[in-house]
């Protein structure tokens, strides 16, 4: 089948090797490692050099700002930015623009409009898709909880809010009975779900802003012997998510094609540097994965290949 993301095609290999700075919030989960693979692999194909920097977490806006300054000082040709935070990154983006360094904004949006293009799969849509699935799955009505994810991050806010809005509008029968933020690790998801199940005798569904917490929630549900009795929806598709989905513990995953985001970001950067037209915004398709269609998912667009690691220098 065609390489995923073929609908924003790979440009011809440019005449000279460009140096592209890539800034991501962190590199400690499959989502961003997959994306990193997208950037690095695509850059290789396009003969470009990548400087890949992580801020260490969404909370480290300041560090990302500094890293961006460092890249500018280091005179890179273009910068691909996955913003730790919308407004927080405005300053350096405009600074880069002023220095004539084009900025491509991927996955998490900066509030500045001085970017060449925005490439993402929309958080609102992710929230809505989970809501629609949840609503249909609980057509009889039911009680759901939200494991929103990391406090203070745009994705945790936006996905959760969109989920609640959509439910309220389309499925009044389905009630949100509890929601909580937590660090997005399986351990925190596990604890949170355990506590939810103590708080509420009856839970029919659990929304997850990120699959890190979903994996924890799945454990809790398994341990409570409630497998299949709780509809667990989540975002993204790391190995454990797939395992639990195949086992029927996690019911549905709205999957971002992180590798594709990476490839498109790099392609846009090169196109821009080669003076080609770049559309002001591109959205990478989302996949709704359930037990039934899991085998048809093309992992090339979702995950880095087995054993690939971000370049260590």
């Amino acid at each position: 089948s065609a390489e995923p993301g073929a609908d924003y095609p790979q440009p011809p290999r440019p005449s000279r090797p460009y140096t592209i700075g890539v800034l991501v919030p962190h590199l400690s989960n499959p989502h961003f490692v997959g994306q990193a693979y997208g950037y690095v692999d695509e850059a290789q194909k396009l003969g470009a050099k990548v400087i890949l920097l992580e801020a260490g977490g969404y909370q480290y806006v300041e560090k990302q700002v500094s890293q961006m300054e460092d890249l500018i000082a280091n005179k890179v040709d273009a910068i691909i930015l996955v913003a730790t935070n919308g407004p927080g990154t405005v300053g350096p983006v405009e600074h880069a623009a002023a220095q004539g360094i084009p900025v491509i904004n991927c996955n998490v949006m900066t509030a500045s409009d001085k970017v060449v293009t925005r490439i993402r799969s929309d958080d609102e849509v992710i929230g809505r898709m989970q809501a629609d699935f949840m609503g249909k799955a609980l057509k009889a009505g039911g009680k759901v909880v939200l494991l929103r994810g990391a406090p203070g991050t745009s994705w945790a806010e936006n996905r959760g809010n969109a989920f609640k809005k959509e439910l309220a509008e389309k499925f009044p029968g389905v009630k949100v009975i509890g929601e909580q933020y937590s660090q997005s690790t399986p351990a925190d998801g596990l604890k949170l779900m355990e506590d939810f199940m103590q708080t509420f005798p009856q839970i029919d569904g659990a929304f997850n802003g990120a699959d890190t917490t979903a994996i924890g929630a799945a454990q809790a549900v398994l341990a409570a012997g409630k497998k299949g009795k709780v509809v667990i929806t989540t975002t993204d598709f790391q190995a454990d998510t797939e395992k639990f989905l195949r086992e029927g513990v996690i019911t549905a995953a709205v999957v971002q094609q992180t590798v594709v985001i990476g490839r498109w970001g790099m392609r846009a950067a090169i196109n821009r540097l080669e003076k080609r037209q770049v559309p002001p915004s591109l959205s990478t398709p989302l996949l709704l994965v359930t037990k039934d269609n899991v085998q048809d998912v093309d992992m090339r667009g979702v995950r880095a290949p087995e054993g690939w690691k971000p370049p260590t220098r």
Binding site: T185, A187, Q198, T199, A239
Partner: protein
């Protein structure tokens, strides 16, 4: 001694009568109060299942707090325990995939001890302050964990391994049992062995200990190996709980481990404290974490409450001290 001066010479702290009554009993009273309160707000708090949840949830904190107790008693500190959990988790999982369950567990625990050994040698031999030595390890160990794992969780661990985190013995979850055993063991070591006595001696007056013939460097190293060992066990248990090796586990746990020791009544400058006190500290934090979720306090507000209670709890405990 300053605290003698403060203790004997100042009028007992004023403050709300309830506090003053509590003050007579101190930290145990705080623990009971919290439990009663949450139980009243949500009966499920007392349910066997929830209590066993709590006990399992605090097992990790318990383990690293025990290691921390050794470090702090000896007038040191171990900031690296949180990162060590991540390192151990990754090492344990990777080793397990190639050498099986036993191999993985062993590798994980050894990794913890090895890191502790490095801490110990840097502190005792190179005489770098414990704060700096273990801060360096905090940063570095996280880096190693990320490098080894490439930032990805290590999935596909054998089912048999998962019992450690998920299994039960009667109503008691395995992690709880492991923590309980660890508590007893640590208590015996601190109160009944030469090593334990020396831990207190180093923390109370290192120079006097040296002049009394205590081989301080040697036992200091041992202290951090012990702390690493407990981090190792914690890392293995947590890895089993989350059925995968995770390079992101344990962040800021070091602060809570230290908090547990000090909340219980341990002195951050060493020499004073013990396993029993640490247990109280762990309970306060554990009950808060679980109870506030059960009564559905928003996670933002939870921070405020937890912050306040930590302070009040210690205040009440000291109020008792001063009344002696």
């Amino acid at each position: 001694m300053t605290e003698a001066y403060l203790q004997e010479s100042q009028a007992p702290p004023r403050g709300h009568p309830v506090l003053r009554v509590l003050g007579k009993i101190g930290m145990p009273a705080v623990v009971v109060m919290l439990a009663v309160f949450f139980g009243a707000m949500n009966p499920n708090f007392w349910s066997v299942r929830n209590l066993s949840n709590v006990s399992r949830q605090i097992s990790i904190l318990s383990l690293i707090s025990l290691g921390q107790t050794f470090a702090i008693l000896s007038a040191g500190i171990d900031l690296s325990v949180g990162s060590l959990i991540a390192l151990v988790s990754v090492v344990c999982a990777q080793a397990m995939l190639s050498f099986g369950v036993a191999g993985g567990i062993l590798a994980g625990i050894l990794a913890g001890c090895a890191a502790g050994l490095v801490n110990g040698v840097v502190i005792a031999k190179a005489r770098v302050p414990a704060f700096i030595a273990t801060l360096g390890m905090l940063v570095a160990a996280r880096g190693v964990a990320l490098t080894l794992s490439g930032g990805l969780p290590i999935a596909g661990l054998p089912r048999s391994f998962l019992v450690i985190g998920a299994g039960y013995l009667g109503p008691l979850p395995f992690p709880t049992l492991i923590a309980a055993v660890a508590f007893v063991a640590a208590h015996l070591v601190l109160t009944r062995t030469v090593f334990g006595r020396y831990v207190y001696a180093m923390g109370s007056n290192e120079e006097a200990a040296i002049l009394s013939g205590v081989d301080v460097p040697r036992y200091k190293i041992l202290v951090y190996v012990v702390s690493g060992l407990f981090a190792g066990i914690a890392g293995v248990v947590l890895t089993s709980r989350v059925v995968s090796g995770q390079p992101t586990l344990g962040e800021v746990q070091e602060l809570y481990a230290i908090a547990a020791v000090v909340i219980g009544g341990g002195k951050i400058t060493g020499g004073v404290g013990g396993v029993g006190k640490t247990l109280l500290g762990v309970l306060v934090l554990g009950i808060l974490g679980n109870g506030l979720n059960l009564i559905q306090v928003s996670s933002y507000v939870q921070n405020i409450v937890i912050g306040a209670i930590i302070v009040v709890a210690v205040y009440v405990d000291l109020a008792r001290e001063r009344r002696r």
